[in-house]
């Protein structure tokens, strides 16, 4: 026989961002509860709406499986006399356990043989397990923010009003009794606040399917996937009716799924004059407060929007008219900010940055602007001709939008607003694009700035942030990274790799950034370089897809011209599986080991000639390869260069077999070490192969 359990916890409105994690935790913890009780093969399904947490368990037994229990008694030598007859100790133990003495067995305990009783304990009813297990399980859920209410005795995501807990075979007829946050479990819930607010007695409901159907009649789509599908269909239909498409916004749609019990969609009309607003402003104004979706036609914003309501209909048109009024008010507000901001040029707004503190110990945004300008100019000169001027201009204007009314209202538009205002001020395209793109990339995904000016601005801004905050002692530790410095460092790496900035070396740029923040302490730079290098390693592994040891090998040779590091890493990743590289890595480990142990090179002059055939062969192989490898490397053909290095495997192997490097003749020893140093130098043109994991 297979039984089902249904749990519904009805709360006041639960925050959208709390629901997906709660569903996951419920699924995991109920599975663990069942597994802990020895129940196998049950299914756990979890649903939620803005007011409900719902768990359905199926495939449950009526009772928990029987358990075999062993109770250990006294040691066997005490329990039985030499003639094998039971002593008082055995008799007493048997009596205590309620068994005949003949049922005692002798088993090996940790301290030798003991007598023991083994018996089968009948499993208790599954209902008892649930009644006991559910309240602590619910109380243990973790939420982003919890609260107390009323008398303040309980803490949960929101106040709990009703708990339905039902058990049964096909008809869920048995109430599972317990108390949760002061609410006694029962069989009665309520429907949708508007559609069917009356009570619904679920006793006897036909399992999960019956429950879902009953709630659907009461205006509640319990299954989040069901709501997602309805929402998607309604959105598409309303857009198609006016010959438009919805501008895709998956995070917003996903949020709406969590915000309702029944997703209804209405289409509102926008006044044409608002289409004159910059598109980003229009879209953000509608999205930011109103969570509205925008429609477009031929790639341009159309004069409509979609709003999501928690009800299937709009019987008197209040919902659409209300949303239209609010959207109009928000856009009029945005228009007001836009016009107010546009009374002054962006460059004039920049004067307000004096008063905007970047960090207590790192001065104002005006100061930051100055530093970014200097650093950006230095990087620009290094990268290419003609970049310095636009980079300086972009840096000067980059942060000015932080003091505009528009960014004050819509912080997520920082950069974008600056870009729009710069464009409208007639700044050249490279400059306004750089301003608009300065916060790209948002993370590992997402595009880098569109042009070279934006790339350099983005790198300079973040390196300055890193240098300034490291100097101020704000180095991230563990999970603490309040200024998102890891993301900033990763962005530096990603921009350098993907723009690419093939002539900017990150370590050198970082040193310049630290110098501009007047950090005399060498420790700051060292810490920052380690931090950046670690982020580059992460980038190579995560974004460039190379193995961790390959990344380490490449960065171990040299690092920081990221595009070049990526090329070397991918070349090495491509050839490492070839058998010769395993030998080569081993041989190179020996080379490095010997060179490291020998310490600094002796006087180079008057090098004693090499004598052994194996070392002469190695020297000649090296001589032949040096130019080839250097040539391939210079041309960026790292795969070919690595194949060239593979030619060193056999001579190195022979060398280590035939030649005693640390011979008694000091001069000869120095000559051999010098040869190995040259070999090492050649390898390190490409990668430190000694980092490669064996058989990796």
């Amino acid at each position: 026989m297979s039984y089902q359990f249904l749990l519904e916890v009805l709360c006041e409105e639960i925050p959208a961002n709390a629901l997906a994690p709660a569903r996951q935790q419920l699924a995991e913890r109920f599975a663990a509860l069942l597994a802990g009780a020895g129940i196998e093969g049950a299914t756990v399904r979890v649903f939620s709406t803005v007011r409900r947490l719902v768990v359905s368990l199926a495939g449950l037994p009526a009772r928990l499986p029987d358990r075999v229990e062993t109770v250990n008694g006294p040691p066997a030598r005490v329990a039985f006399a030499p003639d094998g007859s039971p002593t008082q100790a055995a008799l007493g133990f048997a009596r205590g356990q309620g068994v005949e003495v003949g049922e005692l067995r002798v088993i090996e305990g940790p301290k030798g043989a003991v007598v023991a009783v083994t018996r089968t304990v009948a499993g208790r009813p599954t209902v008892a397990l649930l009644a006991e297990g559910v309240p602590p399980l619910l109380a243990s859920l973790h939420f982003p923010k919890t609260m107390r209410w009323g008398g303040g005795e309980y803490t949960f995501v929101r106040p709990v009003h009703r708990v339905v807990a039902l058990f049964g075979e096909t008809s869920l007829a048995e109430a599972v009794p317990f108390e949760l946050f002061g609410v006694a479990s029962g069989t009665v819930t309520v429907g949708h606040r508007v559609v069917a607010p009356e009570e619904i007695d679920l006793r006897g409901v036909a399992g999960l399917e019956g429950y879902l159907a009953r709630l659907a009649e009461a205006g509640v789509v319990v299954d989040q996937e069901g709501r997602r599908a309805r929402l998607a269909a309604a959105i598409e239909a309303l857009a198609a009716e006016v010959g438009c498409q919805v501008r895709p916004d998956p995070p917003l749609v996903a949020e709406h799924v969590e915000l309702v019990e029944y997703p209804g969609v209405v289409r509102g009309v926008l006044a044409e004059r608002f289409l004159a607003l910059p598109e980003e402003v229009l879209v953000t104004a509608l999205r930011h407060h109103q969570k509205c979706l925008v429609l477009e036609r031929d790639g341009r914003v159309a004069p409509f929007f979609l709003a999501v309501a928690d009800r299937p209909d709009d019987p008197e048109g209040h919902v659409v008219r209300g949303n239209e009024w609010v959207a109009g008010a928000r856009l009029a507000d945005a228009e007001f900010f836009f016009q107010q901001d546009r009374r002054r040029r962006l460059a004039e707004h920049a004067s307000g940055l004096e008063r905007l503190v970047f960090h207590q110990k790192a001065g104002s945004f005006a100061q930051k602007t100055e530093v970014i300008g200097q650093l950006g100019e230095a990087l620009a000169r290094r990268q290419a001709e003609g970049l310095a001027e636009p980079v300086r201009r972009a840096a000067r204007l980059a942060k000015a939008d932080l003091v505009t009314a528009m960014v004050g209202e819509f912080p997520e538009l920082q950069g974008v607003v600056g870009g729009i205002y710069a464009r409208l001020d007639g700044e050249e395209e490279a400059v306004w694009q750089a301003i608009a793109d300065q916060y790209r990339p948002a993370g590992l995904e997402g595009p880098v700035p569109r042009g070279m000016v934006g790339a350099i601005l983005g790198v300079a801004d973040r390196l300055d942030t890193l240098a300034a905050l490291f100097a101020a002692g704000e180095v991230p530790t563990g999970s603490k990274d309040p200024f998102a410095l890891r993301r900033a460092a990763l962005a530096v790496v990603k921009i350098c790799a993907e723009t690419p900035l093939e002539r900017v070396a990150v370590p050198e740029a970082a040193a310049a950034a630290v110098a501009l923040r007047a950090a005399s302490d060498g420790e700051v730079l060292r810490t920052l370089l380690d931090f950046l290098r670690e982020r580059e390693h992460y980038y190579l592994v995560t974004a460039a897809g190379v193995s961790p040891d390959v990344a380490a090998a490449v960065l171990g040779a040299r690092w920081g011209v990221v595009a070049d590091d990526v090329a070397r890493a991918q070349a090495l990743e491509g050839v490492r599986e070839e058998p010769v590289f395993a030998d080569l890595a081993q041989a190179f480990k020996r080379v490095r080991h010997m060179v490291a142990k020998a310490g600094a090179a002796g006087p180079a002059a008057g090098r004693t000639p090499l004598v052994e055939p194996a070392e002469l062969a190695l020297a000649s192989a090296l001589g032949a390869l040096q130019e080839q490898v250097a040539g391939e490397a210079a041309a960026g053909r790292y795969r070919e260069a690595l194949r060239g290095l593979a030619g060193m495997a056999a001579p190195l192997d022979r060398f280590f077999t035939d030649v005693l490097v640390l011979c008694d003749d000091g001069d000869l020893r120095q000559a051999r070490l010098a040869l190995l140093r040259d070999v090492e130098a050649l390898f390190l043109e490409i990668a430190d192969l000694s980092c490669l994991a064996a058989g990796g």
Binding site: E13, M147, G151, A309, P315, V319, G322, F336, V357
Partner: protein, 336 residues
């Protein structure tokens, strides 16, 4: 519905729910939360229900009477229900019906919107209530005030009166809202907005504001450290809180005037908060000394509270209350 009918209907409704109808506090405050009928009454075990209109000053939001949606002084209808009753959402819904809004034909939503007030050492969890997409009320379960953990928990409902009136009348400007049957909001208030904006942004005497800030700080401390006739400490809680509220408003004026360097900001807010926390603690001790007179005699919690403070010892300020700095009486956080 004109503004004054809105106020009358809400007052009538909440009065019928057992609320004391209080009057606005006669000081400039940033929000109804700062009124002692909220800030102090939510402390300790005593039950309380109160409703009042509070003109709320946000000098930095002033817009010279030019922006149709923003005011430097707006009206809040503040309702406190302590402890929060289980049917508080239902009561709220019925208050909308009292305004002629039938929730059955509208979209009424409760979307997460928490708030904290760094100046009051207070924070709460709750929602913004949206009516057909319009934010009409802040609904908050108070968790902490003056750095003190609150038990029982009060529900606070704050209706934005101008917004609601604008929305119900579908007006495109606050100033077009009818105040009464005859007078518009413009006729009653537009000139104040212009003048208060000019004062806040252009005219206010920064040196004087700074001086008064320090003066009232000293005065607050003097009140808190006042001694009774028998030589024992006998703090003057209300005068101390009033001095603290004056500091808060002076800070907001300085901020609007652009006279608060960002580096000073946290420190100035911290000076106000420290006093708010002391006022809260002094109030609670005073009520405890009085035996929490509003507790009903049969109340078991009350008896426990009278003996041991009901678990309401002055907990150290902390928790989520002071994570962010801000200028106003209320600040929303964690919008999702």
């Amino acid at each position: 519905m004109d503004l004054q009918t809105l106020i009358l209907e809400l007052s009538r409704f909440w009065s019928a729910q057992g609320c004391i109808l209080q009057q606005p506090y006669d000081l400039e405050v940033g929000a109804g939360t700062m009124h002692p009928e909220t800030f102090l009454r939510v402390l300790g075990p005593e039950p309380y229900r109160v409703a009042y209109v509070q003109p709320s000053r946000r000098p930095a939001d002033a817009r010279f009477g030019e922006n149709p949606f923003r005011l430097g002084k707006h009206l809040q209808m503040q309702v406190i229900l302590k402890p929060s009753p289980p049917d508080v959402q239902e009561l709220y819904r019925r208050s909308l019906e009292a305004l002629g809004i039938d929730p059955a034909v509208h979209d009424v939503r409760f979307e997460e919107d928490n708030w904290e007030s760094p100046t009051l050492g207070a924070w709460g969890v709750g929602w913004q209530v949206l009516l057909d997409g319009m934010e009409i009320t802040q609904f908050t379960y108070f968790q902490q005030a003056g750095g003190i953990e609150l038990t029982p928990v009060a529900a606070e409902l704050t209706y934005g009166l101008e917004r609601i009136a604008m929305f119900l009348g579908r007006r495109d400007s606050i100033y077009d809202v009818p105040w009464s049957g005859e007078a518009s909001y413009r006729e009653v208030r537009h000139r104040d907005e212009v003048e208060l904006s000019r004062y806040a942004f252009q005219v206010a005497d920064v040196a004087m504001l700074e001086r008064h800030f320090a003066d009232w700080e000293r005065e607050a401390v003097r009140c808190l450290e006042a001694v009774g006739e028998n030589g024992a400490p006998d703090p003057l809680v209300i005068p101390a809180l009033e001095a603290t509220l004056k500091m808060s408003h002076l800070f907001n004026l300085l901020d609007a005037r652009g006279a608060v360097a960002v580096t000073e900001r946290v420190a100035l807010i911290g000076r106000v908060r420290r006093l708010a926390v002391r006022c809260a603690k002094a109030y609670l001790e005073q009520r405890q000394a009085m035996g929490f007179p509003l507790l009903s005699p049969g109340d078991a919690a009350g008896a426990a509270a009278r003996r041991g403070g009901g678990g309401n010892g002055a907990a150290p300020a902390g928790g989520g209350a002071q994570r962010r700095a801000g200028s106003e009486g209320r600040r929303r956080v964690g919008r999702s």
